[in-house]
């Protein structure tokens, strides 16, 4: 027992090392930098320890607060829509029909396209003169064409749309895996009891699917919190900051303005938010799994 444990330790070590090097170290380094005032373009100001000043500034920075609100709305709306769309897709893919394998593979295509490429595609689709989006809505009535990426209300919706299109299939994949663990006998028993299709879905599928749904929601929430490339390619945060999500704001602070300390404080903020969310979800999922374990 002791020896096998020690052996296990050796096997775990490489991954601990890699995680430490590529995840823990950058996070700690960002946290350290966030306590300094450091501006690349003004090297003569030096690296000055300022304690919590960056965080105090962050808490009162109206742009950052707006940005947080925009990010939260984006996360809430897109994650919810993605899990809903994913559920629909998964239910469909779980049925047996001809060419199911092909359809299953096809559904994954959006997810397999690099986000930068699909963002560029959506930028063209949403173009106000030659975009397909306008053509589908208004046909040849060019005077009614909208400019979604130029409108402070439509631009966030356009970003959500592009994100849902791209990542719903990922949610579908997780949910589909969950669906396949539900034993057929339960449906047979329900059929014998005279349950309708809706009752089967409501009473059998949904309760047993909860862990998978939560898992999909967890992945999508955390991923959505880190949204960057869609905004970078499609709107650069505009118009009027309507799509200025936190990660993009932090990126601009660090990479464009050279405000290393302040930008790091934003990154640490995003990290803490994701951490809290993960804990919350993992507790929920953990409780589910535990319940299932004791019921057996």
């Amino acid at each position: 027992m002791k020896r096998s444990e020690r052996a296990a330790l050796w096997f775990v070590l490489p991954s601990v090392f890699l995680v430490g090097l590529f995840s823990i170290y950058p996070i700690l380094e960002s946290a350290r930098l966030s306590f300094y005032r450091m501006i690349l373009m003004l090297p003569w100001l030096g690296e000055k320890f300022v304690g919590l000043e960056n965080y105090r500034d962050l808490a009162t920075d109206p742009v950052a607060l707006d940005s947080l609100a925009i990010t939260l709305v984006f996360v809430g709306v897109s994650a919810a829509l993605e899990v809903l769309a994913g559920l629909g897709m998964a239910l469909l893919l779980n049925e047996s029909f001809r060419a199911r394998g092909l359809v299953r593979a096809a559904v994954l295509v959006p997810w397999a396209i690099p986000t930068v490429v699909s963002s560029q595609m959506w930028r063209y689709l949403f173009n106000d003169r030659y975009g397909l989006f306008n053509f589908l809505l208004f046909g040849r009535a060019t005077e009614r064409y909208l400019a979604p990426l130029a409108d402070a209300r439509l631009a966030p919706a356009a970003i959500v749309f592009a994100d849902v299109w791209k990542t719903s299939s990922f949610a579908a994949l997780i949910i589909l895996a969950g669906l396949q663990t539900i034993p057929d006998e339960l449906y047979e028993a329900a059929a014998v009891d005279g349950a309708t299709a809706w009752q089967k879905f409501r009473r059998v599928t949904l309760p047993l699917l909860k862990p998978a749904l939560l898992l999909a929601l967890l992945f999508r929430t955390i991923d959505a919190f880190k949204v960057f490339d869609l905004v970078f390619v499609m709107t650069q945060g505009g118009p009027a900051d309507a799509t200025n999500v936190l990660q993009f704001y932090g990126y601009k602070k660090i990479f464009a303005e050279g405000m290393i300390g302040y930008g790091s404080a934003i990154s640490v903020g995003v990290f803490c938010f994701s951490l809290v969310l993960s804990f919350f979800y993992i507790r929920l999922i953990g409780a589910r799994v535990l319940e299932k374990g004791t019921a057996r």
Binding site: L42, A147, A150, Q236, P239, A240
Partner: protein, 420 residues
């Protein structure tokens, strides 16, 4: 394979046999001159090879790419393109190499003074100007002639003319004006031209404080919001950079267009443009009582502080900016170059008569004030301008006051230690 062969082959692969490489970080250039110039340079300098690293078109994104390379102390970048607003920042950060030993003052005198000023920081020079741009007004000569109109001298006149033409042409595809109003650097250039031509300024360089809250600056911004966006321009311009706005003009769907000098050739190229030969060019309008103001733009070549071969890199810059090359670039592209002499060259003027007017405008063009904190200031201005012009009911007083306060905080960083 014999075991000793592998290291030998590797050695051969990385040995400095053949030409030395100069890495040049640039943007994609569509007129084909860059390729030809590099080819000619390599023919004259068989010991050097230019490797191009292509960055994004947008100046903002290109800046972030180059800044990222500097932060990584990237030795793989020797020569890089610099937008006219970056030399102060790159110099202050210690990223751009001072070029004084290569580029003496008597040589600098041969370039447009505004461009040299933009490349100087605390007494040293950090870039050699290649292109000089200035904001210009393009218009549909045929339409203005049809309605017997002269190119507008004031902004209200431009709006008036656009409305007249739109009203009588009665074509749903036609708009009055196209410019660059997306939230990016180009927005600052566009808005600066309105503000300066109303006797305003972006910020007070002497007192280090924002000036967007001034009555004249707000008046200019209000004019854009109320009379241009959604009036003579459709709201789509709020997502436009140069290429989109130019496309609208070259498709014959805009009466007036604000752009840099390169647009002249594009608009008159029958292959790309439906309005070739029907284009006019004029200084940008001003507000009544103000003076026309063109934003100074343009691109410079700099050498990275981390380059391993600045001497070789200089040979390339010297080639690209020497008189002969500048004349060739001007003749090929019609773009405004940096050497003053080219604007008097009979051959160039014969092919591009507009160079005479362009020289006047470029000489008088207003640079965005050079400062190492330009990017944070620009981000504040982009935020403000975008918010101000993209909503009809924007609260200009509040937005401008906020922008000024944010700019004051950034500008405060420049005050000497004792004053802070």
């Amino acid at each position: 394979m014999k075991p000793w062969l592998a290291p030998l082959l590797l050695l051969l692969l990385f040995s400095p046999v053949g030409a030395a490489e100069i890495r040049f970080v640039t943007w994609r250039e569509t007129q084909g001159f860059m390729e030809r110039l590099i080819h000619d340079f390599e023919a004259q300098n068989p010991d050097l090879r230019i490797v191009r690293d292509i960055g994004p078109h947008s100046s903002t994104e290109f800046h972030d790419l180059v800044a990222q390379k500097f932060k990584n102390r990237d030795r793989e970048m020797d020569v890089f393109f610099m937008d006219v607003i970056w030399p102060a920042e790159f110099a202050s950060a210690g990223w751009a190499l001072p070029l004084d030993r290569f580029f003496p003052p008597e040589e600098r005198k041969k370039f447009l003074p505004a461009a040299i000023r933009a490349n100087s920081y605390t007494g040293a020079i950090y870039g050699v100007p290649l292109f000089v741009d200035a904001g210009l007004l393009y218009y549909r000569k045929d339409l203005l002639e049809k309605y017997r109109l002269q190119p507008p001298r004031t902004w209200p006149e431009l709006v008036e003319q656009a409305k007249t033409i739109l009203g009588r042409e009665n074509s749903s595809g036609l708009t009055g004006f196209s410019g660059q109003f997306k939230q990016y650097e180009g927005l600052v250039c566009n808005m600066m031209e309105y503000i300066l031509s109303n006797k305003g300024s972006l910020w007070d360089e002497a007192n280090l404080s924002g000036a967007l809250h001034s009555v004249v600056a707000k008046e200019a911004v209000r004019f854009v919001r109320d009379h241009i966006i959604g009036e003579i321009s459709h709201r789509g311009v709020l997502a436009y950079q140069e290429p989109e706005s130019l496309a609208l003009f070259t498709e014959g769907r805009a009466v007036f267009h604000r752009n840099w000098p390169y647009a002249w050739e594009e608009a008159n190229d029958a292959q790309k443009s439906k309005i070739a030969g029907r284009v006019g060019m004029a200084p940008l309008p001003a507000f009544p009582g103000g003076k026309s103001a063109a934003a100074l733009g343009g691109w410079q070549l700099g050498i990275s502080r981390f380059s391993r071969r600045p001497e070789l890199a200089w040979r390339f810059i010297e080639f690209m900016t020497r008189e002969e090359t500048q004349k060739r670039i001007a003749l090929w592209t019609g773009r405004g170059v940096a050497r003053e002499k080219i604007y008097q060259d009979p051959e160039v003027l014969g092919k591009y008569p507009q160079f005479r007017a362009q020289f006047e405008i470029s000489t008088a063009a207003a640079p965005r004030p050079p400062t190492p904190v330009y990017v944070p200031l620009s981000n504040i201005m982009q935020r403000y301008f975008s918010a101000a012009v993209s909503a009809r009911d924007s609260d200009l007083d509040r937005l401008a006051a906020h922008a000024d306060r944010d700019m004051d905080r950034v500008l405060d960083l420049l005050r000497p230690r004792a004053a802070r």
